[in-house]
């Protein structure tokens, strides 16, 4: 990725000078086009398939955020508007910088480039910073708001930025009060207005698991057994910093299973057990389904993950499982019916994705994710049931 950056003051006493900012960007593009960005002789194509508004309170993250956006712009040439806020600053300050970002092209090919506007807001102007973002959005392409911190749904800046967006991206794994924050998220998602949809990077982490588990239902001879599942066991790495008994990602996975299979929560069957395991009861008709959530220590420095999921039907002695191999780069699936292994097991690569790749993936989706919404709703019911037992 080649980067051309101009650090120039684009703010005045009347706020950010949008006209000047656009002129600066145009001039940078003209330079890039004349010389080929980064000194190459190939042409440069200015492209914008979406607006990405990334909002964070952490100045220290700026370098890492720039690197991450390099990855994103490679997949989605866009206008990235990075808003860094410092609410507690005594002095009000509003600054803006512009840069263009081009991916390296093969020899002679045109480079597809995006652009970044960084806005730093401090003190009382943080509340009004959304009005600096609005005029910088490129019209007629989707607007994604990536709220890097924990969403505060009553926060004026959050509400104003949400109103500008078509889709809001959060990461429920970063919640510091996971149960409370997930309940608030569910409330916001269910109360969404004017076609604004939510994405959760944590949901993206479950995609491979969900795909493989759902794959069992594609096999006709498995289905009678899958209709009789009465036990689900999920072993998951509990994030060290997580204060909740069950990791949010695991709750979303359970919520997804329950929502897709029309299982109803049986609150009386939901109990904590020894060894930190949580037991959650569901019913479908007369059938009771017990879900055991077993925390295990985090095995290495990587992202805490689900380690294994098995679906068991006592009747017919059937088990279907997906497990993470120890090297953490492959998932293996298997089925056992009546005590016999029914398949040799599939091994699929499972590459841990970087945050930039995960974000890029979310930018592919604009429509409402009903599977996520249903899973989130179920997960919030589970939290309420777990809390009932904690009292």
């Amino acid at each position: 990725m080649q980067k051309q950056e101009h650090t120039i003051a684009l703010s005045t006493t009347k706020g950010i000078d949008v006209g000047k900012l656009e002129r600066e960007l145009s001039a940078m593009w003209a330079t890039a086009t004349d010389s080929g960005a980064g000194g190459t002789r190939s042409g440069v194509t200015r492209a914008c398939v979406l607006n990405l508004v990334a909002c964070t309170t952490h100045y220290d993250d700026r370098g890492a955020l720039d690197d991450l956006l390099d990855e994103v712009i490679e997949h989605h040439p866009c206008r990235a508007l990075v808003l860094i806020t410092e609410r507690d600053a005594l002095e009000a300050r509003l600054d803006a910088y512009v840069s263009t970002r081009c991916q390296l092209s093969s020899k002679g090919a045109k480079q597809i480039c995006g652009e970044q506007v960084t806005i730093e807001a401090a003190g009382r102007v943080v509340e009004t910073a959304a009005s600096a973002v609005a005029p910088l959005l490129i019209p007629d392409v989707p607007v994604f708001l990536w709220w890097k911190d924990i969403p505060q749904y009553d926060d004026k800046l959050f509400k104003k930025l949400v109103a500008l967006a078509d889709r809001v991206i959060v990461d429920s794994r970063s919640f510091d009060q996971p149960y409370e924050d997930l309940l608030h998220l569910a409330e916001a998602v269910n109360g969404r207005s004017k076609g604004i949809h939510f994405s959760d990077l944590n949901w993206g982490r479950l995609t491979a698991w969900r795909t493989l588990l759902a794959g069992f239902w594609d096999v006709p001879e498995y289905r009678p057994h899958l209709d009789n599942i009465d036990r689900v066991h999920i072993a998951y790495e509990q994030p060290r910093e997580n204060s909740a008994p069950v990791a949010v990602g695991t709750l979303l996975a359970v919520g997804w299973l329950a929502a897709q299979l029309n299982w109803e929560l049986a609150t009386s069957e939901t109990t904590p057990t020894e060894g930190g395991m949580q037991r959650i009861g569901f019913r479908k008709g007369e059938r009771l389904i017990t879900i055991e959530l077993q925390p295990v220590p985090v095995l290495n420095e990587g992202d805490p993950m689900i380690v294994s999921t098995s679906l068991t039907a006592s009747e017919g002695d059937a088990e279907f499982y997906v497990k993470l191999k120890p090297e953490r780069t492959k998932l293996v699936t298997g089925a056992r019916i009546g005590g016999d292994a029914h398949d040799a097991g599939h091994v699929l690569t499972y590459e841990a994705k970087s945050e930039g790749e995960r974000l890029s993936r979310e930018l592919n989706f604009l429509a409402r994710d009903t599977a996520y919404e249903k899973a989130l709703t179920k997960a919030s019911r589970i939290i309420e049931a777990l809390r009932l037992h904690q009292r």
Partner: protein, 490 residues
């Protein structure tokens, strides 16, 4: 060219920089001369110096070429004068005769009235009395009249009557700088030089039209003027109606000024009149409260300098128009214009009807809207066509994508300022891009019932009713949404 109000803001910011650019581009002959008139006493040289710094400050061209400027300034004169004083016009006549002799301007005269509107009639009367409205040597005499052209229908009619007692309509050029913008001019080309759009340009294929004219600025120290005006008088009855008429008009018989202007007036003549009921149900007025623009807090309109603390002047208006003719019957034209909106933009959005059958289910259509054609007048002038496309991948997922034309990218040249084109057209005698008397009056005829109804129900106004930095009052969204449509986010 004689500029009335030669030391004023318009002359400094627009007229002199436009004339300098025209000279630079060799559009004006070497004989061309300017006479500046205003009450401020100053010499020719002082006037040159002031105008030079104005060009340096306001011209889009970087820097002033000393040689070109010297040659331009050699034909620039200044005459201290009083609009109501006959002696001033006698002196002007003498000066113009001298300039004719010295520079060979052949008696061709263009008077530009860049003065307060209450002085238009007086200036023209005095020009007539001084026999300056007819050339002694067979040249032409034309008068450009700035906006606002009247403050209501009655004053506009009165002004037309007074002007036409002295001048022939062919000599009068009522300027509307929106018509000088490239994209507005391109509307005629886009519609009538292409074969593919015009067959779709009717009620059969178009669901509705949205015209947005948004400013981020407030009244910028002109509170006193704006209190007597408001957005309907200031923007809608002139600029917006000009744009709307170009969208709605029938193809002209030819590109002559009268043929084009005939069709524009015809389109506005077919506009459904506003009744009290229609104003209440289909129009919204607003006034901004405090809020923020470009990241900084801004005050409410009522707190602006020169504005009454209980002012009921509208800074935002949304009106729903119908053009009741064969082409447009039943197609709403939603128009909104306002100050202190989130971004500066003027655009026309043509929304086509949805495909007759929803072959692809809702889950495949990721936020897909029916086809739209967006004509961006300012800034970043261009045209965008939006249509649905399949997102690459194994599944069928559909999203709206854009096909863009941008003036900056396609032609790689800086667009001319509106005043450059309009002044040049007037010099060349082409009035196509100027408003005719009937157009000016028709604009007022249409908006008067709205203004009257709002004046009658003044006590019902709960202002401010929108926060600065938002897209106007909630009611403007409710009206369009009650009809199953949404305002775009331009």
């Amino acid at each position: 060219m004689v500029i009335f109000g030669a030391s004023g803001d318009l002359a400094k910011r627009k007229l002199i920089p436009a004339l300098y650019r025209l000279v630079q581009q060799r559009f004006l002959p070497a004989e061309f001369a300017i006479v500046g008139l205003s009450r401020t006493p100053m010499s020719h040289d002082e006037y040159h110096a002031r105008m030079k710094s104005a060009v340096e400050e306001f011209s889009e061209t970087k820097g002033v070429d000393a040689e070109v400027w010297d040659s331009f300034a050699a034909g620039m004169y200044y005459l201290p004068s009083d609009i109501g004083d006959a002696e001033s016009y006698r002196k002007l006549g003498t000066m113009l005769d001298e300039i004719d002799r010295e520079r060979g301007t052949q008696g061709n005269r263009l008077f530009y009235l860049s003065i307060a509107p209450e002085f238009y009639a007086e200036a023209i009367r005095q020009l007539g009395a001084a026999e300056l409205t007819k050339s002694k040597t067979g040249g032409w005499v034309r008068v450009i009249v700035e906006k606002p052209f009247g403050i209501d229908l009655e004053t506009a009619r009165h002004l037309n009557k007074e002007i036409l007692q002295v001048l022939d309509e062919s000599q009068v050029y009522r300027i509307d700088h929106y018509l000088g913008k490239e994209t507005v001019q391109n509307l005629l080309v886009f519609r009538f030089a292409n074969g593919i759009f015009e067959p779709l340009w009717n009620r059969q294929y178009i669901d509705h039209v949205q015209i947005t004219n948004a400013e981020t600025v407030g009244v910028e120290g002109r509170g006193g003027y704006y209190e007597t005006s408001g957005v309907v008088r200031d923007m809608i009855q002139n600029h917006v109606f000009q744009v709307l008429s170009l969208v709605a008009m029938e193809p002209p018989a030819h590109l002559g000024a009268e043929a084009v202007r005939d069709e524009k007036v015809k389109a506005l003549s077919a506009a459904r009149p506003f009744t009290s009921e229609r104003v209440r149900a289909e129009c919204v007025r607003g006034q901004y409260g405090g809020g923020s623009i470009a990241g900084q807090p801004v005050v409410a309109y009522r707190e602006e300098k020169g504005v009454a603390p209980d002012s009921t002047t509208e800074t935002f208006a949304m009106i729903t128009m119908f053009i009741d003719n064969w082409r447009w019957s039943g197609v709403p034209f939603y128009v909104r214009s306002g100050k202190r909106l989130p971004k500066r933009v003027t655009e026309i959005a043509i929304q086509f009807r949805a495909a007759p059958l929803e072959l692809f289910g809702e889950t495949m259509m990721e936020g897909v809207t029916p086809n739209q054609l967006i004509i961006r007048i300012q800034p970043d002038e261009g045209i965008t066509m939006r249509f649905a496309a399949k997102i690459p991948g194994q599944q069928t997922r559909i999203r709206s994508v854009n096909m863009d034309f941008r003036y900056g990218a396609s032609f790689g040249m800086k667009l001319a300022e509106a005043y450059e084109r309009l002044i040049l057209d007037c010099i060349l005698g082409d009035s196509t891009l100027y408003a005719r008397n009937d157009m000016a009056e028709r604009g007022w005829e249409l908006v008067m019932p709205i203004l009257d109804e709002w004046a009658r129900s003044e006590t019902e106004t709960a202002f401010p009713n929108y926060e600065a930095g938002t897209w106007g009052p909630e009611a403007s969204h409710q009206i369009i949404e009650s009809q199953g449509r949404h305002w775009r986010k331009p």
